[in-house]
Symmetry: C2
Subunit: 335 residues, 2 copies
């Protein structure tokens, strides 16, 4: 039995820099290293798995998928420590059902997404999207009529109060104390600990805040939950920011509302269909800022995901509870 | 003797909303109100001054200038409470020399400028200027080679450690503990109180930080102080942000360095010549973000300047020390 580390060169450099690689090798007890770019066929990958018969696999974006008949190919595989985010291409659902332990970067990327949310919010207040075009293409400058807004003392409403929102509250606190959230399943203690007040309805969230930040998980219940009616409730001068999941929003409605209402600002990092189609109505809109899904961990912070994986590896080896392990429900919710 | 309030309608609404106007009128003891847009000539303004013979003038952007022979026209004028920022068009230098007390918005706008500095810094890390054009005009999307950076745990260096920098430190602290500053005249206690380490040279500031934020006051000593040599020391992947004064930087050199080094990001809110000329080499650069001097108080925060003025008025009437009063040195430094 020999553990496997299957990461390409860039993954080694960015997820495991500055001594982390040595730490990983030690925890994996001198694993068999596989460069995923050198695996030329599915059969070759299966024969590596068979030969090593690993207990632990440390994996990355380019690791070939695990087969449906995993229990035959690698009967002793107990734990897959996947350093990036989404495990669905790597791990078949049946493996989770059969008790394979799998972790990904989980909560370790929350703070970089919360940073993106703050950036998009501040950008809405100062109309960065508009000014970028004005200054660079139209030779523009401000006028006495130029509208500018600050985030200081503004009312900010969060849809969802999970880990990203909780990190975001830390970043918003220097600007405002008026933070509320709509997240019915989160208990009062979490709200109180964060100093966030509870919005009892989405209608309140959208009509009584200057900035609404979308961070709800995508579930059958939340899909399309942000309707045209809600979007039209955003107060004049307000902003809508989505760094969660595109499909939580009725995006056709959002495009209509953004076109009808130059008095609101919109900033999007996520979309129902990614990459965003070239002919998306959002492209070109002066009051809509667009990012190509940059929220997740920036390259310089992949090391946080590396640290998260190493800590999980240590916990696994010590028989402790792991951070953010997958179960079938989480597997089904993942993108 | 009757005090004068000379503010236009927009100034009344934005500087003195929500009860502040009544408070101002009470403090000014039912002043004579002058709508500056209705004053048709210099003579009319001088006759208003003569007739009212005010002790206090509350003034705004459109208030006509005070004359050089102020002591003849308004011999009892002791205090000019100017609600906006720069008094040089309103007040002759001789009046300051002769002991006229003048205040402006002073330090009350520091936090909105610090907010702009944070926005520009985060924008550099995520390359907002580049992505705005890519997403809106070029139909772009990220690729596996897309570079992204976070502000978390980055080294940030501040040139200048005045009031704006001090507010900025509050906003940077959730991101990083690695904050240093070059500001030789600021005593150690200020650095220690803020948790900011001292850079002993500008060379250190530029070569040993990932982000350099320019906030030094413009003086004969600082003019052109940021040379090409310094700018070329910015590390690969680094950012240079100017929210202070354009003329502190050798802007021709900055344009050359930005053109030569796509590996650094630049964000500018201020320029040696404003409005920024239409043919400025900065316009169009993919790694340079441009704002039309939006740092100063956003419209929604002009009320902070109103509060600052009202507090100074109260202090003046009670014989207390005023906040940020002008002296000749400050007058000469103002733009």
């Amino acid at each position: 039995m020999k553990n496997i580390m299957c990461l390409n060169e860039i993954e080694l450099e960015t997820f495991l820099p500055e001594g982390r690689l040595d730490k990983a090798k030690a925890l994996l007890n001198s694993p068999h290293y596989v460069d995923p770019t050198s695996v030329s066929s599915k059969d070759e990958w299966l024969s590596i798995l068979k030969e090593c018969d690993p207990e632990i696999l440390m994996a990355g974006w380019k690791t070939p998928p695990l087969p449906e008949n995993l229990s035959e190919v690698a009967p002793n595989l107990k734990y897959v420590c996947y350093l990036p985010g989404s495990i669905r291409k790597l791990v078949p659902r049946s493996a989770i059902e059969n008790g394979l332990i799998v972790t990904s970067w989980g909560s370790s990327i929350s703070r970089t997404i919360s940073e993106c949310a703050l950036l998009l919010t501040l950008s809405c207040m100062r109309r960065v999207r508009y000014w970028t075009e004005e200054m660079h293409i139209n030779g523009g400058w401000k006028t006495p009529e130029t509208e500018t807004q600050s985030l200081f003392e503004r009312r900010v409403g969060l849809h969802g109060l999970g880990l990203i929102s909780q990190k975001l509250v830390d970043l918003l606190k220097p600007f405002t104390d008026h933070i509320s959230a709509f997240s019915p399943s989160v208990p009062d203690e979490i709200y109180e600990g964060l100093g966030v007040s509870r919005c009892s309805t989405l209608e309140d969230l959208f009509s009584k805040n200057d900035v609404i930040i979308e961070l709800a998980a995508l579930t059958p219940k939340t899909e399309g939950m942000i309707t045209e009616e809600l979007l039209r409730m955003i107060p004049k001068g307000g902003a809508f920011v989505n760094v969660g999941r595109g499909a939580v929003v009725d995006e056709d409605a959002l495009a209509r509302v953004a076109a009808d209402r130059p008095d609101i600002q919109v900033a999007l990092d996520v979309y129902g269909i990614e990459p965003l189609p070239v002919d998306s109505p959002f492209r070109g809109m002066k009051n809509v800022m667009l990012f190509p899904h940059l929220g997740g961990p920036t390259i310089d912070r992949r090391r946080d995901a590396g640290d998260h994986g190493l800590e999980n590896l240590r916990r696994y080896l010590n028989g402790e509870d792991l951070m953010d392990p997958y179960d079938v429900r989480l597997y089904d919710r993942a993108t």
